[in-house]
Symmetry: C2
Subunit: 283 residues, 2 copies
Amino acid sequence: MYDCIIIGTGAAGVSAALTLRARGKNFLFLGNPELSSKINAAEKISNYPGLCEVSGAQLKEAFSSQLKAAGIEITPAQVTGVYDMGGHIGVLCGQQSYEAKSVILATGVEAVKPVAGELEYLGRGVSYCATCDGMLYKGKKIAVVCTSKSMEEEAEYLASLASEVYFVPLYKDAELKGENVHYIKDMPQAIEGKMRVERLVFRNSAIDVDGIFMLKSSMAPSALVPGLKSEGGHVLTDRQMRTNINGVFAAGDCTGKPYQYAKAVGEGNIAAHTVCEFLAERK
Amino acid sequence: MYDCIIIGTGAAGVSAALTLRARGKNFLFLGNPELSSKINAAEKISNYPGLCEVSGAQLKEAFSSQLKAAGIEITPAQVTGVYDMGGHIGVLCGQQSYEAKSVILATGVEAVKPVAGELEYLGRGVSYCATCDGMLYKGKKIAVVCTSKSMEEEAEYLASLASEVYFVPLYKDAELKGENVHYIKDMPQAIEGKMRVERLVFRNSAIDVDGIFMLKSSMAPSALVPGLKSEGGHVLTDRQMRTNINGVFAAGDCTGKPYQYAKAVGEGNIAAHTVCEFLAERK
């Protein structure tokens, strides 16, 4: 069992990983090996102490080489659930599962807000994970809402199973192809149904479907972690970055504004130190 | 009147200054132009994200050149008091005073704990400021406890006024000279008296004095700011770095552990953002 699993490879996750390594902890670092896509997009960062007028790409490169020098590897994974198992934490990534004494959520913020009904119908026709739930929709009619090009491969897998795919890319230059793939260029507004999902409603139309996949590069922590307390879309923590769930900590943008690199690395550092205290108390 | 005064030039103060500059605020940055003496002392920092295996001296150099590039100047000052003036904050540095709409305390932690009785007798024979209170002890017998070589100049000034100076340097290579200067190489244990200071007690001796100067390179925020809530020697703040006093914020080591650069820059960043919100609400 790992001492800790860090979920998310943005600035907060990187900071937590460097500190856990410095403290000699046995941890797993899950997320995108290319780090945060947001870091890469920043043109110029003027207020990150120690690096003068650095570009996002340069900061990302600095983080990457620092992780490499410290011998820290990133395990590529899309986390689909985090569960309090009473004494340890279970982390699901599709079919793969991991166990740890503690977890640091450093998942960032999802720029795309949940569609009305999304959280209510989660597990009743709404899914975040093609690998986990794809087979349930073999030969059925589904909608696939995709927020990032990096998730298109999962949409392809779904198209190989479903009879009809209504594909809703929320980015430019989507390339998904297939005879059963129908593009919809509109913003989803609401998910409707009775016991289960029946319909996805857009601004100008609606489609009847058996299921809806919301493929996001990062997920709202409240959707990932059953029972996690949040407010206004942000995980609630105390100043030591403890959440309401024993053994689950959070850091970075997912805990709230300001959405800043300095704030994220600070909270990652604090969370890692609190994890060390937590581990010492467990013994 | 300044938008903000940042007190302290360690990592938290530097981070706050860079962000206030990025946000176009009119602020004063008070403290040691050589930045934190602690930064300089760090041999190797392994977990500051973005700078791989950097030495304290290198990090200090990076901070200094970044401040210079951003056109941020440090005003050398020893702050002796911060006062809530009801609507604005007054900052005293000996005889000099400044006014601001807000203050960020980034004063670090004083490694030397207060001596028993120190806070009780503050203003009744105990002083932190040679410039402010020196004249009160002209021709009198005083003890001067000095925690840092950088404060020796103040001790020299006091020796020019007092009849007898019992000099207690808490560092090596003290150089204060004078016919009326008597060195004591022992740790102060307690300050005693009735209405006012009468005696400074050491492990192995005690001396009768009219006053005691505690010359420290940084002061406990609770001694600087009347009414400031603290706990275990640390300023109490919420997650937005607000203290219990309207317009007074805090960041870095003075708010508690972990004493880490990443944590300090994170809190400096958050405090600066909260100051911006505070200023917007004032308008």
